[in-house]
Assembly symmetry: C2
Amino acid sequence: MNLARTTSTTKGKECEAVPSDGKPGAVGVDPEQLWLRPTEPRRGRRPSFSREAITAAAVTLADAEGLEVVTMRRVAAEVGAGVMSLYSYAPDKETLLELMVDHVSGELTVTDPPSGDWRADLKTVAHLQRAHMLRHPWLPAALTTRRVPGPNTLAFLEHVLAVLRPTGLDGAAKLEVFAQLTAFVAGHVGHEIAQAAVSRSPDRAAAEGRYLAAVAADGSHPELAEALSAPGRPLTPEATFTRFLNRLIDGLDTD
Amino acid sequence: MNLARTTSTTKGKECEAVPSDGKPGAVGVDPEQLWLRPTEPRRGRRPSFSREAITAAAVTLADAEGLEVVTMRRVAAEVGAGVMSLYSYAPDKETLLELMVDHVSGELTVTDPPSGDWRADLKTVAHLQRAHMLRHPWLPAALTTRRVPGPNTLAFLEHVLAVLRPTGLDGAAKLEVFAQLTAFVAGHVGHEIAQAAVSRSPDRAAAEGRYLAAVAADGSHPELAEALSAPGRPLTPEATFTRFLNRLIDGLDTD
DNA sequence: CTCTATTCTCGTACGTCGTACGAGAATAGA
DNA sequence: TCTATTCTCGTACGACGTACGAGAATAGAG
């Protein structure tokens, strides 16, 4: 089997299997169409670009200026292609996003074999994920939609499963641990990034402080008033993350 | 002080304090402008609609058809207003979203006082939040952006802080527990919803199964192959949630 | 009452988005 | 050389968020 890591062509027309009803839990991209495409088509005009290059450009853009500037027009301009040319490499924008997520997951490659202490290994994995998401701040938001694991994500998953081997958990449980851990890290980092953004804007931070102070001052929120008046020493995001992560993982057992 | 729970007017023009630079961590709505507006303006034409009604319509829409159908045009149509009339009640769409989030948080009102067993209380709170998010499946996605707590959110926060009183944690730590717990629940439910959406589409579920089977079959992912071949008994989302939640909360201590 | 300042309503219009369509360019095998 | 195939991309469409400003409704002043 070949996981289509290399350039491969995906004509937009071909991907009409899933009608995508637009309901709350609308379902996204067909994984077989996306990741299992053979690299055969060696006829017709030779491609001028590559899925890799396009995806990389989109990632660079998102890293530098945020997910919202990743538009088909902008990505095309960055790559030097016509807008509609992108659709030869990804059937739609959602798929491009999926490609971006898996693309950056390539950075998560771990070479060290599991140490045998699966709790410690899991913590390392989580810290890796956190650093990864901080490097690509658009990731937590992009992960709220369901993603089909691409080759890079699968490689990482493979590593986590190996880490979990000593637990003796069954397959479904191991996969669940992976999903929950990722969701936990994404949730934390998403919050961490938003918090940092507020702090970076002094006007905004001040406005928020004044607002909360006003709320606390009117007597209807005594617990909040006390919490704000006795803040304790400020907590670094790193420390908070480690704290909660340790709680979560140390609590896991293998029953 | 009055938290503007009732109808209040917010002319779009007035909210130009924060330029909103569009950077990755762009900062949203001014809380003082949004939640602390006095209800004075008793002159000029009387409003034909209300912030409440508009927000409620938007929520109903999101619940029924998903966040992506919540457009200014659609909401206006639902309410029977002209599109631009909405801008008399919320300065922009992002603010409307913020209003929606706080609106549904009104359902989270808890009347029972804390029992004294803060771990049990916290678990109850988390289950409440999960049920809440399942009722409004757009919430996990909407919560990835930073929100300024509105009156309903503050009421709920107040309750959680009361629950945490016996822990003796300092203010910052309590607030952190609240944020982390919410992020955890949002992460879990987001995943749960997406998973359910895939399962609801048999074609899609089958395609995904075939894809993973193909990946597992080629030998390069032995751990995945084994996990898929020895799945164990299927886990209900409810059980998984409870499991991880208990790990997290039982691990919390008051040092 | 009339006048005026204020507030809300909403039709029109602009720029941007994702992307359907299809004409043309490039290439591989017959 | 011809033909089938594949890629490129200009044009165009409908939907989006929302700026603008003309008109309608209302409250207080005279």
